[in-house]
Symmetry: C2
Subunit: 759 residues, 2 copies
Amino acid sequence: MKYQALNTILLAALLWTVPGKAQEKHHTFVDPMIGSQGLGRIFIGPSYPFGMVKPSPDCGTAPNSGWLPEPVAVTGFSQLHVSGTGGGPKYGNIQVMPFTGALDSQEQSSMRENETVKLGYYSVLLKKNQVKTEITTADKAAFYKFSYPAAAQKSLKIDAGFFLGEQPVPDAREAQQFVGSEIELVSPTEIRGYSRIRAGWNNGRAYTVYFYAVLDQPVTSYTSWKGQKLFPNVAVQFDSNEKTGLLLGIGGSATQLNMKIGISFLSSLKAKANITQEIPDWDFNQVLTGLQNKWEELLRRIEIDPKASTTQQQLFYTGLYHTMLMPVNRTGENPMWTNDQPYYDDFYTLWDTFRTSNPLITLISPKREVEIVNALIDIYKHDGYLPDGRSGNANGRTQGGSHGEVLIADAFVKKLEGIDYELGLEAMLKDATVPPGGNEEQEGRGGLTEYNRLGYVPFSVVRSGNRTVDYAYNDYNIATVAKGLKRQKIYDRFIRQSANWRNLWRDDYTHEGSKGFILPKNAEGKWLDTIPYGNSEIQHPTYIYTPLTRETPWYACHWCGFFYEGTSWEYSFSIPHEIPALIQKSGGNAAFRKRLDTFFDKKFYNVANEPSFLTPTLYHWIGRPDLSSERIRQIIGASYNTSRNGLPGNDDSGAMSSWLAFHMIGLYPNAGQSYYLINSPLLRQTVFHQENGKDFKVTANGLSEKNVYIKSARLNGKVFNQAWIEHEDILNGGELVLEMDAKPSAWGTRILPPLSLKP
Amino acid sequence: MKYQALNTILLAALLWTVPGKAQEKHHTFVDPMIGSQGLGRIFIGPSYPFGMVKPSPDCGTAPNSGWLPEPVAVTGFSQLHVSGTGGGPKYGNIQVMPFTGALDSQEQSSMRENETVKLGYYSVLLKKNQVKTEITTADKAAFYKFSYPAAAQKSLKIDAGFFLGEQPVPDAREAQQFVGSEIELVSPTEIRGYSRIRAGWNNGRAYTVYFYAVLDQPVTSYTSWKGQKLFPNVAVQFDSNEKTGLLLGIGGSATQLNMKIGISFLSSLKAKANITQEIPDWDFNQVLTGLQNKWEELLRRIEIDPKASTTQQQLFYTGLYHTMLMPVNRTGENPMWTNDQPYYDDFYTLWDTFRTSNPLITLISPKREVEIVNALIDIYKHDGYLPDGRSGNANGRTQGGSHGEVLIADAFVKKLEGIDYELGLEAMLKDATVPPGGNEEQEGRGGLTEYNRLGYVPFSVVRSGNRTVDYAYNDYNIATVAKGLKRQKIYDRFIRQSANWRNLWRDDYTHEGSKGFILPKNAEGKWLDTIPYGNSEIQHPTYIYTPLTRETPWYACHWCGFFYEGTSWEYSFSIPHEIPALIQKSGGNAAFRKRLDTFFDKKFYNVANEPSFLTPTLYHWIGRPDLSSERIRQIIGASYNTSRNGLPGNDDSGAMSSWLAFHMIGLYPNAGQSYYLINSPLLRQTVFHQENGKDFKVTANGLSEKNVYIKSARLNGKVFNQAWIEHEDILNGGELVLEMDAKPSAWGTRILPPLSLKP
């Protein structure tokens, strides 16, 4: 109770103070530092929406996003990063670093002063040499402005060999590994080269990041390096599988040096063309304004109550911003095949994003989501499988299901146009029928043979718990599309399989007052109370498995447990396609409510990860949307804020942030279904300015610190008694008006959210 | 009989006329045109041993080796080719073409005059413009000499977009597909760029061929192109996923233009470094001599009777030459990972080369074979599976077994040092225990799950016949290494599995007087006399399958039959690891002899492909090595000669050629076993100058047109009554003397070739 009271106070502080300025542009509310510290791992540098180039300071090789707070020194500024990821880092390529004085050392790290971060803008004063560095970026080319102390020798390091995630043992699991690099001083103002790196979190094949840098002041002296050796006056270091770079002395009396750096996955000349195309001039502010406009155009599509507090505006628009940092649009930059389809990379990962990130993109820009889905299908066509995770042009890793299925089904039920759903179905069927073979962490469904034979993944296969639960859900997605395309036989098979989660439901198992859990079972059908680990054929060690066992104990391998990053308490709620059946299996409405209450009150709920994203709203299905809303408010109050620690877990390409954004509006998607659940909004009003030209408005009349319950609702003026709304209703434009009250009501308690298919 | 008599005459003509000149260097006997026409598909251009750069004329985009005889026009000269392959082409990248006059057309094809081909040297007079083109090459850089007519405007086309195997439907099966290209006139004498291509026969991922060209005369005018459009005076075309190239006008009054062109898989600067390293000067003959010396050093290691006929010398040394064109040594040119292991590509394919090409390399240069095996194991380590086929840095296709196993086992039994056999065993076990998943044509063992469950691959899996036979053999290879490494449990499993070919042996099936054949069986254990094809669920079409059915009928898919490129008559002999058991299953010695006689006399034997390579020597196992030798002589006489049509099938990286070379010596390997069968040589003497410094000599005393049977033998002076010899006996140095006679003898009839393991 104390915990709840505190949350309410925090939430109130968060939402009802400091009214925002009505005239402010939306993008000014974005604070890229939210979630940058702690678990959030947010990328803090400038980036276009879905932008390819993501420059950021790198504080050593360890941090996933490059950045860390002081007192860690900055090594330099590299051009590619990911946002919100866990596990081993990816990218961190082509690092630049200004310094002063002699060209005699590759080591130019510095502490920081006056670090300033705004949407599209980063600046810092490097303590060591007092060089101010400012960065903004276009889509595929970045702009750097270096301001040196007067009279200092202006110097610049360009490191083609740097990358994040380097390990003492080069092929350590999840470490990025160096393959090759090259650098060339082409003219006094031009440098080109590349960096070739492999592996990293997804253990992907080698990718090559090409660059072309243009300076507005001439190089007058230079020293290149290969490995540890410096080569004064040598302008070129070709690729011989060693790290290369350049130390440049800049001439002229100006204290300022501007640099444009283009990036490409095709070639350094293409990187140069990207500069020409995107940054023809030497105007830093022009680039910055261009970036701001790109964001503004997207952010303004969901316009919230202009009188919402600054905190609300910051939380909301930063949430939208986080959601559109990734995946990355690399159309025209695919080094593997050529056609007229869009190409996106850095699906990091669908396991994280299918629940809220992609549904939010669908609402902001259905055209964008169509591109993303088409890119996925095109990857299937050329690489053989839909990705679940993908980065550096390579599929991997799969943590559980094959969630490309969810995106395709979600697009299908929301009637997104311009997708070849027949080909999409083919791609989904590949996942569901063809085992991915040797490296099951790369793509497809690990343990598929067993799943298809037994109806569940037996414990001998790693991550058998969430694989079973996810595959059943993904099978439901397949059934959804198959039915729509009138493929009866496929539908019959997969709607049947979508009930497979039941095969790991241990009916008679009671824990903390609740009965029935998803629990490990071996191939012979025996439930396992203790589970084996390790490879010893003599000792056969085991550990006791309970519904609260999180992942694996420290002495067993991280990826070898029953569930990936979750407990049975969490995953036993994670049946988004069969919630009524789940309630029944759990003992009916009363038992299910008790189960949910236990889950939240005893803090079995893990706010920091995606598997439980839908769980706070499950009260809807027992006719208690008021309880869903209460839980959501508690969670937000306790775990979200505008600080650098303001995100409770890895943001995972905007997953955490989009979860928050949806709940602030008062809508919440169940991916693969055509509806949104309605919860008490945190915002008094939200207007969707849709691509089809129609506005849809959600209004919460009377919403206040006390009035947090929905008393009644009207859709386009008509009484609306259900706690969910169809996507089509939003598309058609109009207004959903919620009347708020201080106490729970009977609204939304009788018409329960539908199941689009019945297994 | 008429057939046999004719063969004998042809063979006599081939072997016993025109004695060769004793002093001639070995490499002068190499005729690169042997096997260039018809099925041989031999690459005719210059190449280092295992050399990366393989320049050749391209006669359109269709031919696998680039070259075709007149009257097909030459499109240009590209820098990479393969030799002896079937299926869709690979490579054909970075094409150059001299011409005269205006820079106004990409089309500069020409007919040919005076085409001259020698080892390391190609020249031709282009009819259209009377430009003579001469080519020689180093390992990673080629040298071109163009001689223009006096007073003509010297022009040169460099096409970065050309490739072999282009199809109207870009992603047609086995077609190479364009991804991107780039070209840049860097200075008046330097051009750089690349070509990026994917797919082709092995459906591999994209590979990039970088080049750097240096001219000895300056460019004075230029027109570049992108797609179909010409750009006069534009020196650079960056990669925008279109084909690019340059038309260059060359200045100066000289009629001769020299060009060095470096190739790299890392970058164009690495390609430049390859020139600097390998061809520092402008001396065509120096490069040519360097190449000849490289070959001479290898060819002289097997020195045949200097009095052998020119025809014999040409056949033998060209055979050795063909065997060392591929795989290609790309150490230092691996764009995917960096370490200290050798890197080889263009295993095209192990299915073809394990029987004779690799064993011959082991005899010529065990160090080279160690590098090749280590490269295979390193590919396993980084790409996840040993290749069976590999080209363009990508595994694929697998036609049947996982024959990396044979190479590792063959190296093991021949005690090759410097290989991590523990890691090799791990790689082999991956093949044998982890299904390769979605694309079973890429690597590993297709149908493995079924094979491991049933003990055979059922007909529902494509190519179930040769897969079963090959997997059993490959399992024997695993057992071989496991036993040597004292891994008893692994040995037990795989020696048992090596008998799995029996599970498809249909004992009671009689055909053409022989009983027992490898025949299709479904998963339920039912033998299939008719086999289904196509996907129709209504018509269920079938065709009748007999032991003479070759591949599949035209109306069924090529890769979907019971055997890949072979009949049951052929594959029912193809049990190299269990020949005594095969004889027993076939009804004993008499029945087996009858079966062999039927096979050859009725022309069921297919000289054009590898599965029957061992079959002519199977008479050894019924105590009749004389009959083996008779069959071998018949086959050689009928199918091998020094003409352009002198090879009976796709040479497949020297497979056909090395088969011939072994039989000319009188030895023949059974890959994975430590011995060689002894047959009547075609050469009076062969000396192996071995890397260990010890010579081993095979002498056939009295060999003549009539004396073609071995009467007796002595090894190092001691009576030697067995028709096989251990690899160790060769390693130890010494002499095997065979006394030849005009009639068969009792020699070699009683001690039969051993089985190293007994299932």
